[in-house]
């Protein structure tokens, strides 16, 4: 069981990251941001960066670092906010999000010195690349782990299943995929767009599958991630984390309207008020 201190730290970091998401997304003005899919992922990314992964912002390319591959690249604000909190990027750099000439695009661009391992945004590819990275670690006899954040809508992509089968073939038990199952994709709910039992699909592909009923709960995430990180059962691991799209901002939660859009001043004020209220609860 994760200790209270770590759970508190993750929750504290998650609150700060949500604030960064809102600030960066609002700062992008009319260029907008993928608020909903970043906010659903916050506890997952926070648990990895501040509880689970071996990494060092002072030495971002150290050989034995655990790798984090954000396959659902549109939710880049979850990653950027973690990189900011961890010290990979500065507040000033965060403020350039989506700006002309910024290295923080609307989808991550590989930039290992700032902690961005893989370019992503065309869905499915980050996960498949992560599988190759996990295989490379096996070939080289290195002990680090590879974590990849995947969207539930992203599981529509064919390459996800090409890579999922291949990961089982090569016994990539040093790989942990986390599906951010927020039940909403761009044009509708996952049920409306492609109503499939992804749990059954991952099991059928041969993965070690764990379903988290509350994927925004730090304690259960930490336990699940720690268990899978330490497991060497010959199978790649996937945590299907049931989350809430837009988590933490009342008018975004579960909404089909906040996948990606600009935020106006009124909405920003309301979002900040939500985050401030959460602190006092």
């Amino acid at each position: 069981m994760a200790n209270t201190e770590t759970v508190d730290l993750i929750n504290e970091k998650a609150a700060l990251m949500r604030r960064h998401v809102v600030e960066m997304g609002f700062g992008a003005g009319g260029r907008g941001a993928h608020f909903g899919p970043a906010l659903s992922s916050i506890e997952i990314v926070a648990s990895l960066f501040f509880g689970i992964m071996n990494h060092d912002p002072e030495n971002p390319t150290m050989a034995d670092r655990d790798r984090f591959v954000q396959s659902k690249g549109h939710a880049c604000l979850a990653l950027y906010s973690a990189l900011g909190e961890a010290g990979y990027i500065t507040k000033e750099q965060m403020a350039t999000f989506k700006g002309d000439g910024s290295f923080l695009a609307g989808h991550p661009t590989r930039n290992p010195q700032y902690g961005i391992e893989v370019s992503s945004g065309t869905l499915g590819n980050g996960f498949a690349v992560a599988c190759g990275m996990a295989k490379a670690a096996k070939i080289k006899g290195e002990d680090h782990k590879v974590f990849s954040l995947v969207g539930d809508g992203e599981c529509n992509e064919g390459v996800i299943w090409e890579a999922a089968m291949n990961a089982v073939k090569y016994g990539l038990d040093n790989l942990v995929a986390i599906i951010d199952r927020n039940f909403v994709q761009l044009a509708g709910t996952t049920k409306d767009i492609m109503d499939v039992d992804i749990e059954a699909l991952w099991r059928a592909a041969g993965w070690d599958v764990l379903v988290l009923e509350d994927g925004n709960d730090a304690a259960s995430l930490l336990d699940a991630l720690a268990e899978m990180k330490d497991s060497s059962n010959g199978k790649p691991h996937v945590i299907i984390a049931n989350t809430t799209k837009g988590k933490g901002i009342s008018f975004m939660e579960g909404s089909l309207n906040w996948h990606a859009r600009p935020m106006n001043q009124e909405q920003y004020d309301a979002a900040i008020a939500d985050l401030e209220n959460a602190k006092t609860i």
Partner: protein
């Protein structure tokens, strides 16, 4: 190169490019522990059974899954390995074109994609198995190098150049059994540096891939008629050897680009793009596959159909001079 290659040229010529690349990958693997090879259920076709048996831990068959072939290779490359992903030219850069762009080009990954049986080499298998547009697709992707070697030794040497090269490479192979030996001794092969195969001042054939032999045959015909003919082995299509092109444009009266590819976006397109900015450059004609799906037929039939035999090339040059 591996010196043993020189002893294998006749065998390689008989066997064709599949064997050349497979044997060379074996040599590279023996010399470079970071070399790994991948295929998408084409191991025997790509002549990689020996590689698989010799290096079972460094060979990966990802199944019939070209998108993952590319992404998985990229992941291996980002961690320091040197993947060579082998597949049919009709499929390996085309089916996963988006992965080739995002995972290889965009991340500048050290992956060599080997497209075997490029052009219309697959003859009777039909148009789904022809690669007539692969150069155009890959050439448009930043960071990519595109190489179409002309013979067994240049194929071997191109692969040795790939292992030293930073960034993704598409190695496009033509030249089936009967792959003409154009280089029987060691020579200087540099990516981006073409080879003046023979000098000449009237016509210039600029050739890529195994059609070099036909361009040389055409040059023989023209020389017999008193038409001085230069032949350039433009083995690297990207980056293009503009220094050689400047020389050709200054000294020759007609440029004929020769390739087993669509007239759009391949070697001919690349030369024309550069030539557009050269004042006073000579006329260019395109010897290529037409902008069309092909009739069914064996390779020899299709070369004739598309005007890519030596006599056809000579006639094309003579009538346009």
């Amino acid at each position: 190169m591996n010196p043993a290659a020189l002893d294998k040229l006749q065998d390689w010529s008989k066997a064709g490019h599949r064997t050349v690349q497979a044997d060379t990958l074996m040599m590279l693997a023996a010399e470079h522990p970071e070399v790994v090879a991948l295929s998408a259920d084409l191991t025997p076709t790509a002549r990689l059974v020996e590689f698989k048996d010799t290096y079972p831990d460094r060979f990966f068959d990802v199944g019939i899954a070209e998108q993952n072939l590319i992404d998985f290779s990229a992941g291996l490359a980002l961690e320091g390995l040197r993947p060579f992903a082998v597949g049919l030219a009709a499929m390996v850069p085309m089916r996963p074109a988006e992965q080739v762009r995002a995972a290889l080009g965009y991340m500048n990954a050290n992956v060599t994609v080997i497209g075997i049986e490029a052009g219309v080499r697959f003859g009777p298998l039909g148009n789904t198995h022809y690669a007539m547009d692969d150069i155009a697709v890959v050439r448009a992707i930043p960071n990519f190098t595109v190489i179409a070697p002309s013979d067994p030794l240049s194929t071997h040497k191109a692969l040795y150049a790939c292992i030293e090269h930073e960034g993704p490479v598409y190695l496009r192979l033509t030249g089936g059994p009967g792959y003409p030996v154009m280089y029987s001794e060691d020579f200087d092969f540099q990516i981006g540096k073409s080879i003046e195969y023979r000098p000449g001042s009237d016509v210039a054939f600029i050739s890529s891939g195994s059609l070099l032999a036909d361009a040389v045959g055409a040059a023989d015909i023209l020389e017999d008629k008193g038409i001085s003919t230069r032949v350039v082995d433009m083995h690297t299509i990207k980056p293009l050897d503009t220094e050689m092109l400047d020389k050709v444009f200054a000294e020759n009266k007609l440029v004929v680009t020769v390739e087993e590819h669509s007239p759009m976006g391949g070697l001919g397109g690349a030369v024309a793009e550069y030539k557009a900015g050269v004042v006073g450059a000579p006329k260019q004609v395109f010897a290529s596959l037409g902008d069309k799906f092909q009739k069914l037929g064996d390779h020899k039939f299709l070369m004739k159909e598309n005007g890519l035999t030596a006599p056809d090339l000579a006639t094309l040059a003579e009538t346009n001079l």
